[in-house]
């Protein structure tokens, strides 16, 4: 232990804090006692250390006696640590050579026995002397920044984040897995509570994004992996072959006319059909056709080749290939959105068996003027207009036993909207909503819900549905009215299920590849639920939209803008500064066991298998020290809180 004790000249400054400390602790005695403690060169007490003369005293003494380190025995470090570090810096000392001994909040204010409090103050100060004796002088870690953002997901959150970052003057790569940007929002009919047409408000934003000089849109692309760290990521992006050159395609539509393959249309949620070569919807961005090889007869001209024959601008290229390429970015916004929980999980509602039992998105397409029925409410099985329609809320939500434990948040509102829009289109129809609770927290939300009941005469029944089944061409819904205490059996022509929102298909894999943490339900985890809601725990990753949890459009847009502004914060810095009290991996002691690697919640540590040692990315380390405690060989040591420092502090506190 002795060989680790560097010779340093340490100064101890004991504050009276008026009578706050001096009233209980005999400060003169403490200062005097410390002056003879090993390594202490100078010790003094003063009435207010934080006052101008107090600060001057410290500054002068550091210079005069050429002190290497100082202890300020005063109030809690949360109050004046920065102040005294500044004083030391002015006197030419490294701020990491300053330690605070908390003898006010944790001594004089909580004890009344003067002798005991004085003895305790001396112990506390001694422990800090032992610590500071072993403190290294540290400089903040600095790194350069690549001022270019990657936005994953081209729904409303991704588009908004991309536009906001681009408007701040930074380059943005917007990656979307589908042939067009727009996400689920472009599928919606009208939006609550104002009943704006969803496409009318979204498509201008899509066009704006496509024309923005700072935004590069990569549709039909996926992010394969991301390596590196904040400010310095390398993203590997996979281009899926589209077989159509988007610059040459003139949208003449001749290819579509001749294509013999008819498959179900994703944009219309399978309620209509498209060809194997298709444009997902007329306002798609980029405006181009895409050839879907899963449904195509085959890319050999011998097999079919009809589309290529009729394409006058010669935009179709059967030799298009999948490509992987790398892009450098400094920040990543993850906006991968949501999907609806599959009906397959609900056998008691017939699973996917009954065409007239639809989910919320299918009903959006049925209501939409651009939908398969042109906005006329027709049921999928026979095209009849349903006179009795039943809406069921919380399908798969708030069901910790069998499905998802959480509330999907937007279903109460969109179900009210569905019921209202149905009544607008079928005024003589009956709409019934089964609910457990109606949650309308939002601007003008409850007013909208009340209108649904009062003006549109939609019947709300408080009870969950147990079973839905077919009888002839009707559907029978078994529910309960828990307010009247009746079991309810209802005939319906069509049933709309407010299915739970879940993270988008494939998102779980992506998050794993990006190494960003999720919550128990697979949604992205935020760095702090209250204070850092748009940041991931992994530095440099930001969250936007439903990838982080169910949200409505205004909330999604706000979060996307917030994420964009956080990216701006990052990019506005000249360099990245990082707290240097990180945990090392001393190679001479590291056996390469790798125990510390999974302990780190920030992926700051990795095992270099070739060299057989652990490497630390200091920029990612937040300095919690969990790895240092886990390391069996003592190779992981936290700067300025080494095992040796803790041992000697313990010794100073317990020793006589």
């Amino acid at each position: 232990m002795n060989q680790n004790r560097p010779k340093k000249k340490i100064g101890v400054f004991v504050c009276h804090c008026g009578i706050n400390i001096a009233g209980v602790v005999d400060v003169e005695k403490v200062a005097q006692r410390l002056s003879s403690y090993e390594g202490v060169d100078f010790s003094v007490d003063y009435v207010y250390m934080c006052s101008e003369p107090g600060q001057k005293l410290i500054e002068e003494k550091i210079k005069e006696r050429q002190l290497d380190s100082v202890i300020i025995a005063a109030c809690s470090p949360t109050l004046h640590e920065r102040t005294f570090q500044g004083v030391a810096q002015r006197a030419g000392l490294n701020p990491y050579q300053v330690e605070i001994a908390n003898i006010r909040e944790q001594d004089s204010w909580v004890h009344s026995d003067k002798d005991k409090a004085t003895a305790k103050a001396a112990r506390i100060i001694k422990s800090m002397v032992e610590k500071v004796r072993r403190n290294e002088s540290l400089e903040p870690i600095t790194v350069d920044i690549t001022r270019r953002a990657l936005v994953i997901g081209g729904g409303i959150s991704g588009i908004q984040a991309a536009l906001d970052i681009a408007d701040q003057g930074y380059e943005v790569l917007l990656v979307e897995k589908d042939p067009s940007i727009g996400g689920h929002m472009v599928q919606l009919s009208e939006t609550f509570p104002t009943l704006d047409c969803s496409q009318c408000i979204l498509t201008p934003k899509m066009v704006e994004a496509s024309r923005h000089p700072n935004i590069k849109i990569l549709t039909y692309h996926e992010v394969d992996s991301i390596s590196g760290f904040v400010g310095n990521f390398k993203a590997v992006i996979r281009k899926k072959p589209r077989y159509v050159n988007e610059d040459l395609c003139t949208l003449c539509g001749e290819c579509e006319k001749v294509c013999p393959q008819v498959v179900s249309d994703e944009f219309n949620e399978g309620l209509s059909f498209r060809k194997a070569i298709y444009m997902p919807f007329p306002q798609a961005v980029p405006g181009t056709y895409t050839l879907d090889t899963d449904s195509c007869l085959g890319l050999l001209p011998i097999r079919c080749g009809k589309c290529m024959e009729v394409c006058e601008p010669m935009a179709i290229n059967y030799d298009d290939q999948e490509e992987l390429f790398e892009e450098e970015v400094g920040a990543v916004v993850v906006a991968t959105g949501y999907d609806l929980y599959s009906l397959d999980h609900l056998g008691e509602f017939g699973g996917q068996k009954y065409p007239d039992v639809v989910n919320g998105l299918e009903f959006e397409r049925i209501l939409s003027a651009s939908g398969p029925t042109g906005g006329v409410v027709r049921r999928p099985s026979d095209g009849r207009i349903p006179k009795n329609i039943v809406f069921v809320q919380c399908c798969g939500s708030r069901d910790p036993e069998n499905h998802n434990p959480y509330c999907s948040k937007i279903c109460c509102m969109y179900t009210a909207k569905h019921a209202m829009l149905y009544k607008h289109r079928v005024p003589d129809g009956n709409a019934t909503v089964f609910y457990i609770d109606v949650r309308t927290g939002g601007k003008n939300f409850d007013e909208f819900y009340q209108r649904t009941i009062e003006d549109e005469e939609v019947m709300y029944v408080r009870g969950k549905v147990s079973k839905i089944f077919k009888e002839g061409d009707k559907l029978i819904v078994w529910g309960a009215d828990t307010l009247t205490g009746d079991k309810v059996e209802m005939e319906a022509d069509m049933v709309v299920l407010a299915m739970s929102m879940v993270p988008a298909q494939g998102a779980a894999d992506l998050f794993k590849r990006l190494k960003i943490s999720t919550d128990i339900n697979g949604f992205l985890a935020e760095a702090h639920p209250k204070l850092r809601p748009v940041e991931s725990l992994s530095s440099g990753f930001f969250l936007a939209g439903c990838a982080h949890g169910p949200k409505d459009i205004p909330e999604t847009v706000s979060q996307a803008s917030a994420a964009a502004s956080k990216v701006g914060d990052l990019f506005a810095k000249e360099k990245l500064f990082h707290e240097p009290t990180v945990v090392s991996a001393e190679e001479e002691f590291c056996s390469g066991c790798g125990i510390c690697v999974p302990v780190c919640p920030y992926s700051a540590r990795s095992l270099n298998r070739e060299r057989g040692v652990v490497e630390v990315n200091e920029v990612l380390c937040e300095g919690c020290g969990a790895c240092a405690a886990a390391c069996p060989s003592g190779a992981a040591q936290q700067r300025n809180q080494t095992d040796d420092q803790i041992f000697s502090m313990v010794k100073a506190i317990l020793g006589e």
């Binding site: 910790p400 969950k464 147990s466």
Partner: protein, 135 residues
Amino acid sequence: MRKRIKRGDKEKGYTRSIVQRSGQNVYACYQCGRCSAGCPFAFEMDILPNQIVRLVQLGQEDELVQSKAIYLCASCFTCVSRCPKGIDIARIAEAVRETADPKGADHFGPDDIPAHRAKDLPQQAYVAVFRKFSK
């Protein structure tokens, strides 16, 4: 008539005894009514399964033990398999039956079966019905 809900020692004690007998956390119920919606005998019941759970929460022993509903439960577990909160309502009904008529009179005993039916009924039905509805 207006009913007054009381949470005295008697009521709390009753709730506790049902919790103990059934092993179910009755307070988990949020009254969605799904148990009643799927129950094959809800049509015949004077109080619905979700109301049984509610009355247990409130410790309303008299209403519960006098109800006909507890003797209509066929233990088919439809409610159990669909309950979003994982509550075994069949066990709660069983616990309530146990607390009914502690003097030991059968709700339904061998004498209640008419002779002409006795011959035809399968054994398992006898055993089951006496296990459920008699002491």
